[in-house]
């Protein structure tokens, strides 16, 4: 069994391209060209150059001594928080902006929740001198002002999504609507491994640099090119997809996904999609989806705006369904505790999203010789407003 995408754009029963005809030419153009373009040697050269000199890759794989002592295993942190803009998101936006240029697109649109992907998109648009419009839920604009200002400083236009619940899901709807209304000159940079095929695969490929580096970095540290466990948080799931990618078919590696349980799985205030969701179609992909019996999408909740999504990437839905992935559910409270613990033990303030991955450690049965990699997907500065209440 392969855990990667098949020829038709599915991961098991999940994925596909559930798009209206208005989007067919755009998505079809991408589907036909994304592999050819991204495998081209000139493209690769430019992508690698920017990742190295602009983003600051490779990101370190850091042996976390004090965390390792506390949990009784060899714990390594993949430092995506040290990337330019402070998270893994930029790996994907660099890839997609280069792709958009080669497709002759003049205008870039994106959705954002907490603002991290919006900032990463605004950054690459500034770098390439391209017009940038970022859709963001009106509610998120209120609670993530610093990122709104960052995007504006970078020259992007931030448009409030006023429909529905005015958060990430609605920002995504608005971006899709923009794309329907601007079918020829616009490229839509989706920020996660969601949306119609080929987006989940394309974003996973651009993020796969994370596990590609983990392989050779572990070889240097441990003399083998795979860990026993990889832990990553999952909202849509792009950082997890990148951290899992080169280990998907290596069954020696346990893939652990930390999903946000919010106030508790059965509290009604949660974003634990694999626990509460059923197969459904949202944003043009078939995946696990939190919804009512009638098929209306249920609004998710998590303390972390970046994990606040009612679905999950189809790759992860399949990892869950097939049993390949180990899904753990982390409450707001446990994520906060983990955030403070990592800050004090390692001198690193992780993003609240990332803190969910750390919170899983206490649930695992670990042996001293176990090699564990945690994908430190982003830094926590952006969350200070939330964290201040708990200091």
């Amino acid at each position: 069994m392969s855990y990667n995408v098949d020829k038709k754009g599915y991961y098991g029963q999940f994925g596909g391209a559930y798009i209206p005809e208005m989007l067919y030419p755009n998505v079809e153009e991408l589907r036909k060209s994304y592999l050819e373009i991204s495998e081209d040697s000139e493209f690769k050269k430019e992508f690698d150059y920017l990742l190295k000199h602009y983003v600051g890759r490779p990101s370190p794989l850091y042996f976390a001594k004090r965390l390792s002592e506390k949990y009784g295993a060899k714990i390594y942190l993949k430092r995506e928080d040290l990337n330019h803009t402070g998270a893994h998101k930029i790996n994907n936006t660099i890839g997609q902006i280069l792709l958009a240029q080669r497709l002759g697109k003049k205008r870039i649109i994106a959705e954002t929740g907490a603002g991290q992907h919006g900032v990463a998109t605004a950054t690459v648009c500034a770098l390439m001198g391209m017009e940038c419009i970022v859709y963001m839920g009106a509610v998120d604009i209120e609670r993530q002002q610093p990122n709104v200002k960052r995007m504006q400083m970078l020259g992007a236009k931030v448009v409030a999504a006023e429909s529905g619940s005015k958060t990430l899901k609605d920002a995504t709807n608005e971006a899709i609507r923009d794309w329907i209304n601007n079918p020829t000159d616009t490229h839509y940079i989706i920020g996660s491994v969601v949306g119609p095929h080929p987006y989940p695969d394309m974003v996973a490929r651009f993020q796969s640099v994370i596990s590609e580096e983990i392989k050779w970095q572990l070889m240097e540290h441990e003399g083998r090119d795979y860990p026993d466990k990889v832990i990553a948080c999952v909202g849509g799931g792009s950082n997890a997809a990148g951290a899992f990618y080169h280990f998907l078919d290596n069954e020696n590696v346990e893939l652990i996904a930390a999903e946000p349980a919010g106030l508790g799985i059965n509290s009604g205030k949660t974003a634990a999609t694999t626990k509460k969701g059923k197969p459904g179609v949202l944003h043009a992909a078939k995946t696990l989806l939190m919804q009512t019996e009638d098929g209306q999408v249920v609004e998710p909740y998590s303390i972390s705006a970046g994990l606040d999504y009612p679905g999950i990437g189809p790759m992860h839905a399949h990892l869950f369904d097939s049993g390949r992935g180990n899904f753990e559910y982390v409450t707001d409270e446990d994520a906060l505790k983990a955030c403070f613990e990592v800050s004090k033990l390692e001198g690193i303030i992780p993003a609240l999203e990332t803190a969910h991955a750390f919170a899983v450690l206490k649930n695992l049965e670990l042996k001293k010789e176990d090699v564990v990699v945690i994908n430190l997907s982003g830094r926590g500065d952006k969350d200070l407003g939330t964290l201040m209440k708990y200091i």
Binding site: P20, E21, Y24, P25, N173, R177, D294, G295, V297
Partner: protein, 255 residues
Amino acid sequence: MERIKKAFEEKSEGILSIFITAGYPNLNDTIEVLKELEANGVDMIELGIPFSDPMADGPIIQKASEVAIDNGMTLKLLFEQLKDLRQHVSIPVLLMGYLNPVMQYGYEEFCQSCQEVGIDGIILPDLPLYEYEEEYKELFESHGLANVFLVTPETSSERIQKLDGLSNGFLYLVSSSSTTGKKDGIDGTAEYFQRVQNMTLKSPTLIGFNIKDSKSYQVACKYSKGAIIGSAFIKALNGSENIKESVNNFIKIIR
């Protein structure tokens, strides 16, 4: 399917099809709106299944969908409301909506319920062509349901031929590259209408999206068998105290 065929046989031009979200403006208005539309000479009806995330719709239909869901409309309830549909309404009625509510209801159960109440066709814009062909074509057809495909200005002629070949109702020509009710009129896309009109298609065509008055209705009729109006009609029903009067006034404006 048969009622749709008959409608196009009996009338070779100027067909008027109206879209209305089920359960809008009030939960139990569905049947009354359909009856009034038929009484005012409308030829066909598309009844919208409300969905929380209508990605191809502009603000007016989004809002109608939201209101209908808040009113308590569900697909299950809709089929109950439509139980006696054919005692009240004789023109073709199609259901239009997004895939997810249908998927949750169950495709087979959905087709069966459609057949039981006398629905004639289905428009599910986010049902991919490959999936329809491989999995649902037979199911839909065996329940007498026409599946209506959308065509846009960006759809290649080759693909239009393919959609035409699979179509058993009519082709829905989206007037311009836009969400519903987004643009002002349909004057800018005559070249595209002409191109489709010049193709020899077996299916009749109707033009929809951004048709809102007599003038745009006339343009649509010039290039196809008729027009589909949604957002403009929903706008006319917004805040209506008297459905009969509102429907009558609106249709008078169109033709």
